[in-house]
Amino acid sequence: MNPFRYVQETTAEAAVRAVGSAPGAVFYAGGTTLIDLMKIDVLTPDTVVDINRLPLDAIEVDERGMHIGANVRNSVLAWHSGIRERYPVLSEAILSGATTQLRNMATTAGNLMQRTRCPYFRDVHAACNKRRPGSGCDAIEGVNRGHAILGTTASCIAMHPSDMCTALAILDAAVRTQKPDGSTRAIRFNEFHLLPGDRPERETILEHGELITHVDLPDLPLARRSHYLKVRDRASYEFALASAAVALDLDGGTIRAARVALGGVATKPWRCPEAEEVLTGQPPTIGSFRAAAEAALAGAVPRRHNAFKVELAKRTLVRALTTVAARAA
């Protein structure tokens, strides 16, 4: 691990100043991504600013919804009774990822900032535009079974690995931040992560030194009938090959509104408005679900080893919708 200067801050103001004033500085919270990648020299910060003591570890509930502090640990969020009742998809998504030990460490904001598992990104000897801009992409012609089929470009096909973010994509979430100049903003969740385009090293809309302070969830009645389904190579502790976050507002035999997002197949948390449109006004039947799945994957661009993901993602979505339709709201 490269040498670095360690700084512990106790206020958001001091933390954003400390990172904002040093180009090579990073925030350190749960450390489950950062320390891992520092050990293999993929990340080499010269300053590590510890934000674990910032007072951002509460989940607040009011009439507008729920407000999750950036430092709330993934396990605390998944186990929170209000989250389980009002947004079961979020609880299920978090519990499907990693292990209890990792979820006890990883934070809400850190989950939004987690890096891809692309093996070429994690190998400092490989070409990777995300890790070293302009160096090329060894994944496109390489072993790409786990890679994305949606949102890819000639620069990058790295898959966004977060289960939690796939659930947040259907919950109208907002990301609240504080910048080094002291200003704050609220970013719509679906605008937070960036498509790779020709700048895959830029993964989020955040500026250097900008700190996530909260994730806000609005009151969203249809989320009470929601579900997360994850399909992977083994039953536990593995990243998704395909996953689906879904919510349905059912009026007797008709879908009044639907929410759909896919994980494990895209370069960012992948909301599917086309699939939602196909479902709206239709009966909750396998035929409707399959039509939605076809719409969701219409733009898929498979590579040599991951063509199976197109059909797998469709079936994953159909099964998730079938399960949630049978569930009491």
Binding site: M1, P3, F4, R5, Y6, V7, Q8, E9, T10, A14, R17, A18, S21, A22, G24, Y28, G31, T32, I35, D36, K39, D46, T47, V48, V49, D50, N52, S75, A78, W79, R84, E85, P88, S91, E92, L95, S96, A98, T99, T100, Q101, L102, N104, M105, A235, S236, Y237
Partner: protein
């Protein structure tokens, strides 16, 4: 980081002092190299001060290389195997992915801290009784994780194996599938899983008869 010596280690009594941690805004000049710091940790109820600790040092390396607590094991060193599982403030976490310097003021418990006088913790005794290991390398992590599993289940929290997250099973209703899922962060390459499950089941039954996990 295993080449660090232990000459800087002095056990101390008294409250934890975090005053030696740099609070950066006061000193914005970037370092040419890592600056060592004095770090005080509370491990198994005892305060330990490391006078000059490289901030890169993980909690696992401090436990093993500086404090001589070699019960916590280094398997993958990347958060994938669970052999380094310890409790921090009562929660199971991975010592290999934690910077030691960030854990001042925390209560750290390792496998060495489970013993009560000279009596084994019930989970340790159950692992022996059920032969829940072969080579034993993963065992300290398995035991630390299993203890947390029962505490979490007693609080009534769900897992990925829970069909309805709003209705988690009580401690006495944990299925085999639930226990396996909740232990999925601890790999046993010898494959002692059936006996690990049996050991956890035995302690679970004791608790459902009234004891607190």
């Amino acid at each position: 980081m295993d080449d660090t010596d232990r000459s800087d280690y002095t056990p101390v009594e008294g409250p934890i002092g975090a005053g030696s941690i740099q609070t950066g805004s006061a000193n914005p000049s970037p370092p040419a190299a890592t600056e060592s710091a004095s770090v005080t940790l509370r491990v198994n109820g005892t305060m330990h001060t490391l006078a000059t600790l490289d901030p890169r040092t993980t909690l696992l390396d401090v436990l093993r290389e500086h404090l001589g607590l070699t019960g916590s094991k280094k398997g993958c060193d990347h958060g994938q195997c669970g052999a380094c599982t310890v409790h921090v403030n009562g929660q199971r976490v991975l010592a290999c992915l934690s910077l030691a310097i960030a854990h001042q003021r925390d209560e750290i418990t390792t496998i060495e801290g489970l013993i009560d006088e000279d009596r084994l913790h019930p989970m340790q005794a159950a692992f022996i009784e059920h032969d829940a290991f072969q080579c034993g390398y993963c065992t300290p992590g398995q035991i630390m994780s299993a203890i947390s599993l029962l505490q979490e289940a007693a609080r009534g929290v769900p897992s990925h194996a829970t069909p309805d997250v709003t209705a988690p099973p009580s401690l006495d209703r944990l299925s085999d599938e639930e226990i396996r899922e909740r232990m999925s962060g601890n790999i046993c390459r010898c494959g002692a899983y059936p006996n690990i499950l049996a050991a956890i089941r035995q302690v679970q039954r004791t608790h459902t008869r009234g004891a607190t996990p």
